[in-house]
């Protein structure tokens, strides 16, 4: 090789030309998925595996007096069973995130001694086929002594309420008061106080089309379980499962490939995974569990149902918002599976998008005899942001102001960015007023009065509503200490490895567990730009495998963070690899300094002499198979692992103050609806979704998230609801009764964007994907606007099915009486 040397001082280092970031490159995932060649969890099979069916409670609240599995076990083809008593002897209760009283819960993989909601798993039956397992489950005999259930969180703390968790001394799970600024001063300064007695955010979730599942194998020789699953946060599952199963995390291997949607609803499957692990060991065979649709609806990850009571808003006559105080009552359902984290997660977006500085919120979380709540797209922030948006529209209504003007008067301004909120969160960048203008233009705001009149001529009531919302991403897990100061979590991390293999393959491994977000594609875009190679040269391993050494404690795909945590890890690892390639080439070229080298066209070459080039294939071959004679201290492996760690401090637990998330993507949605005053039926006739998530690596993927999240929001506000009767029976346990949007339900969608790069992230990106809640806010506002001229009902619930709108038309007083305005 050439022995040319070039002095570094003479070389100008240029940033490599970007080719792929910001482009709509086709997704690497698509080719397998459009051919039915994806590997989802139910596609994984093993010889002789047994199918698991869970026997579930028909009662919302009951003591279990006896369980008899003998008849089921006698059936030919039934491999065995698992009961709560066995679980209680083989495992410890799951670690509780909560401080007292929630800390006292004894939560196991199966019900022990008592059932607390309809659908709670009591016994697992394993058989040769799915059908047989289900049949045999019918033969499990369980005797119950029913107890009165609590299905309305507002009654959970009544003196005579039955206790759901005797261990916790009642139904209170967690309580905390948050207060920032000077409430007394704010209310003294106010011209008006707007009072809202009660607002209610309803219970639903994102119902991914693929339900939860696992195939679990136990290796008796090594004591290790291999858990093929679609759990979307294996880091969390591992820390829940290891201590409960009395085993080290090296014995729990998590493997995923393709996941059929998650939306947060696949984070808390650890109880079922423990049951699978125990059965795999007990029966000495692989076991397979795929949740039936009804099992998903009745037991998995409902979104937090929340009331906001006794709200008071301090406001000036011109609509300037000074502050608010409220009491949030949160219904956790029967167990704390991720809760009470919802009791602090909302605080990531304490003031919403507005500049009020004086805020008090008393948060109370209670248990009820309903399915446990867990993260759902927009987790806990959606409820709070719906609340702040409701305040804006109710204040505008009471003060007879234009909701557009109230928003613009109070929005945090682009010149205020980065903006520190009253509780110490830092909004990184954004221009909310501009987003609103774009949204209003898209729905032809200037023609609104003519459209309203035209709708009236057809006997329809036109309503326009705005939903402004934030998608806070990249959690600082230190916020969990506000829930429980004894927790030892803080910060965040994600991992990627990038290596150059023997024939020049660039192999990327992620710690994440994507469920359709296109990580293979966007990771490859980042890698190819740094290494200056083609996208096809970058091979991103599909899925997650904890054998790959590419994960850390917070690895997973949840909470709007891949574009920051995942891609920063990819960038870090690729830059390490790029530096090593240059180091190696420098040595091969006989001592060329790295500054004199560049990566281009899949080679490393001397900048001033591009013909002196070493293809990546040669680099990979030299290190891996032809390394004799290389300098001893070269320090190059071409196999680079990088752990991204965002810059966080531990929040002040006493003052509940600190930066809880790194980035703040924003969304402004505008909905135009037409209501039939006779029936309450309404159509969404025009709709705009404007998104700002900073730099977009792949705009088409971003837009896909925006549209999909919007569809979920529209489903939630119009149709979707987990409805329980007073006995605690779930009335919407399948897609007949739980209506999600179909093709014919989709209104026209217009999208717009603003790109405000985050100053806090390596690529200017922000996490995104959860901003769809704006659709709920926008439709609620539109319904209230449409009804303004027809009784003037106030929208006080996030669920607005047609019959509800009909009720509001018939009896507007029912909601109007909840709102009042007084002089301060």
């Amino acid at each position: 090789m050439s022995s040319t040397t070039i002095a570094p001082a003479e070389v100008e280092v240029e940033a490599p030309a970007e080719q792929y970031k910001g482009q709509n490159v086709p997704r690497k995932e698509d080719r397998r998925l459009v051919q039915g060649q994806g590997v989802f969890v139910d596609d994984v099979k093993r010889h002789g595996m047994g199918y698991i069916h869970f026997v579930r409670s028909p009662y919302a609240h009951a003591h279990i007096s006896s369980i008899d599995v003998s008849k089921a076990e006698e059936i030919k083809g039934v491999y065995g069973t698992l009961t709560g008593e066995e679980v209680a002897s083989l495992t410890d209760p799951f670690f509780q995130i909560s401080s007292v009283p929630g800390a006292h819960l004894k939560d196991f993989a199966l019900a022990v001694g008592k059932v607390r909601y309809v659908g709670e798993a009591i016994v697992a039956v394993v058989a040769e086929t799915r059908e047989l397992a289900r049949d045999a489950s019918e033969l499990v005999e369980i005797e119950y002594e029913p107890i009165a259930p609590i299905t309305d969180a507002r009654h959970a703390l009544a003196a005579d309420a039955p206790s759901i968790h005797e261990d916790a001394g009642g139904n209170l799970m967690w309580q905390g008061t948050y207060e920032w600024g000077d409430l007394d001063a704010a209310f003294a300064e106010a011209d008006k106080i707007v009072k809202i007695d009660e607002l209610h955010f309803h219970r639903f979730n994102s119902t991914p089309l693929e339900t939860n599942g696992a195939l679990v194998e136990y290796n008796r020789g090594t004591g290790q379980w291999t858990i093929h699953t679609n759990n979307q946060f294996p880091g969390f599952a591992a820390i829940m499962m290891g201590p409960a199963m009395r085993t080290g995390l090296d014995k729990l291997r998590f493997v995923t490939q393709d996941i059929g949607g998650g939306f947060g609803n696949k984070i808390t499957s650890h109880p079922q995974l423990v049951a699978c692990c125990l059965l795999a060991r007990k029966l000495g065979r692989a076991v397979q569990w795929t949740e039936w649709r009804t099992d998903f609806h009745s037991s998995m990850s409902h979104g937090n149902e929340r009331w906001f009571q006794d709200t008071e808003v301090a406001v000036k006559n011109d609509g300037t918002l000074l502050g608010f105080r409220t009491k949030a009552l949160d219904d956790a359902g029967a167990w704390l599976r991720y809760e009470p984290l919802g009791g602090v997660i909302w605080a990531q977006v304490t003031p919403g998008m507005y500049r009020w500085r004086h805020i008090k919120l008393e948060f109370t979380q209670v248990a009820t005899n309903k399915a446990p709540v867990s993260p759902n797209r927009g987790y806990s922030r959606m409820q709070h942001l719906w609340f702040t948006e409701r305040i804006i529209d109710i204040v505008a209504r009471e003060l007879e102001l234009d909701p557009v003007e109230v928003r613009k008067r109070n929005y945090i301004r682009t010149e205020d960015m980065p903006y520190e909120t009253p509780n110490g969160c830092v909004y990184d960048s954004g221009d909310y007023a501009r987003m609103l203008d774009i949204g209003l233009d898209l729905i032809r705001w200037n023609e609104r009065e003519a459209r309203r009149a035209e709708a009236v001529s057809r006997g329809k009531l036109l309503g326009i509503g705005i939903g402004s919302t934030l998608d806070s991403g990249t959690n600082n897990f230190g916020q969990s200490r506000m829930i429980n100061p004894e927790l030892q979590f803080s910060g965040n991390n994600e991992v990627a490895t990038v290596k150059l293999d023997i024939f020049g393959e660039i192999v990327v491994t992620l710690g994440t567990t994507p469920q359709g977000q296109g990580h293979e594609t966007t990771a490859a875009q980042v890698v190819a730009d740094i290494l200056q190679c083609s996208l096809d040269d970058v091979h991103v391993r599909a899925g997650h495998d904890s054998y790959w050494n590419s994960h850390a404690g917070f690895s997973g795909t949840y909470a709007s963070q891949f574009a920051v945590t995942g891609l920063s890890a990819v960038k870090g690892a690729t830059e390490m690899l790029a530096a090593e390639i240059k180091k190696l080439a420098g040595a091969v070229f006989g001592g060329v300094p790295p500054e004199a080298l560049e990566l281009a066209e899949g080679t490393v070459r001397i900048r001033e002499n591009p013909e002196a080039a070493l293809p990546f294939m040669a680099c990979g071959a030299i290190i891996n198979a032809n390394n004799a004679g290389l300098p001893e201290d070269l320090g190059v492996t071409l196999n680079c692992r990088y752990v991204y760690r965002p810059p966080f401090e531990v929040p002040d637990v006493e003052k509940k103050f600190g930066n809880l998330t790194l980035t703040y993507a924003a969304q402004v949605h505008v909905a135009v609806i037409e209501v039939d005053p006779e029936t309450g039926y309404y159509d969404i006739v025009d709709y705009a979704a404007v998104d700002d998530c900073g730099k977009r690596i792949n705009p088409q993927i971003v837009e896909g998230q925006v549209m999909g999240a919007t569809a979920q929001a529209l489903g939630a506000v119009v149709h979707e609801q987990f409805v329980y009767d007073e006995d605690g029976n779930l009335l919407t346990p399948n897609f007949y009764d739980y209506h999600v949007p179909h093709a014919l339900d989709m209104p026209p969608l217009k999208t717009g964007y603003v790109e405000s790069p985050s100053p806090f992230t390596a690529l200017g990106t922000k996490g995104m994907g959860e901003g769809g809640g704006a659709g709920i806010h926008a439709v609620c506002a539109a319904v209230q606007d449409a009804l303004r001229a027809h009784g003037g009902a106030v929208v006080t619930d996030s669920a607005n099915p047609y019959h509800k709108v009909w009720e509001m038309l018939r009896n507007p007083h029912e909601t109007k009486k909840l709102v009042s305005v007084v002089d301060a």
């Binding site: 459009v34 989802f40 089309l209």
Partner: protein, 160 residues
């Protein structure tokens, strides 16, 4: 059901994507479970168990069918098309290609059923209007995309 009872089985023959399979199958087994569990053709999926979501859609003797709503024994003698048969060797069909270029899939779980419904639609109506596309896909639930990119993909594949 009494302990030890075995439900009736019978032998059936089906031709799926040009391959003929002869198998003993329990009378109560659903077509989708037969195809996925017994024949290992896992491209077709299950999302609801109740005929609502369409993830299991196949074309059986030329008719679009939700295969969770049909017993395997009812398909005896049938010719079945599933997602695995859409591509011509390595070459994706126009529809598959359009799904990718329009970002009409995210997680890809509904996609096989969606593609089968769209294939049936385009055979029956090679140039559907937007309203006809929506109607043709109304039996398929997608929780990721919000559907519009799917409509666009079908439109492009139809040449419209």
């Amino acid at each position: 059901m009494e302990a030890g009872t075995v439900s009736s089985s019978r032998s059936i023959t089906v031709t799926i994507n040009d391959t003929t399979y002869e198998r003993e199958v329990e009378a109560r087994k659903l077509l989708i479970h037969f195809v996925r569990d017994d024949l290992d053709l896992t491209g077709s999926h299950i999302g609801c168990d109740t005929g609502n979501c369409g993830a299991c859609s196949m074309i059986v003797d030329g008719t679009l069918v939700k295969s969770c709503m049909m017993l395997a024994v009812q398909a005896d003698g049938s010719t079945i098309e599933t997602v695995e048969g859409l591509a011509d060797g390595e070459e994706l069909s126009k529809l598959q290609q359009a799904f990718s270029s329009h970002h009409a899939l995210q997680c890809g779980y509904c996609t096989p059923g969606m593609l089968m419904s769209a294939t049936a639609l385009l055979r029956a109506n090679p140039a559907p209007s937007e309203a006809e596309i929506k109607k043709g896909l109304q039996g398929n639930i997608c929780r990721c995309t919000g559907y519009w990119n799917i409509f666009e993909a079908v439109k492009e594949a139809s040449g419209g």
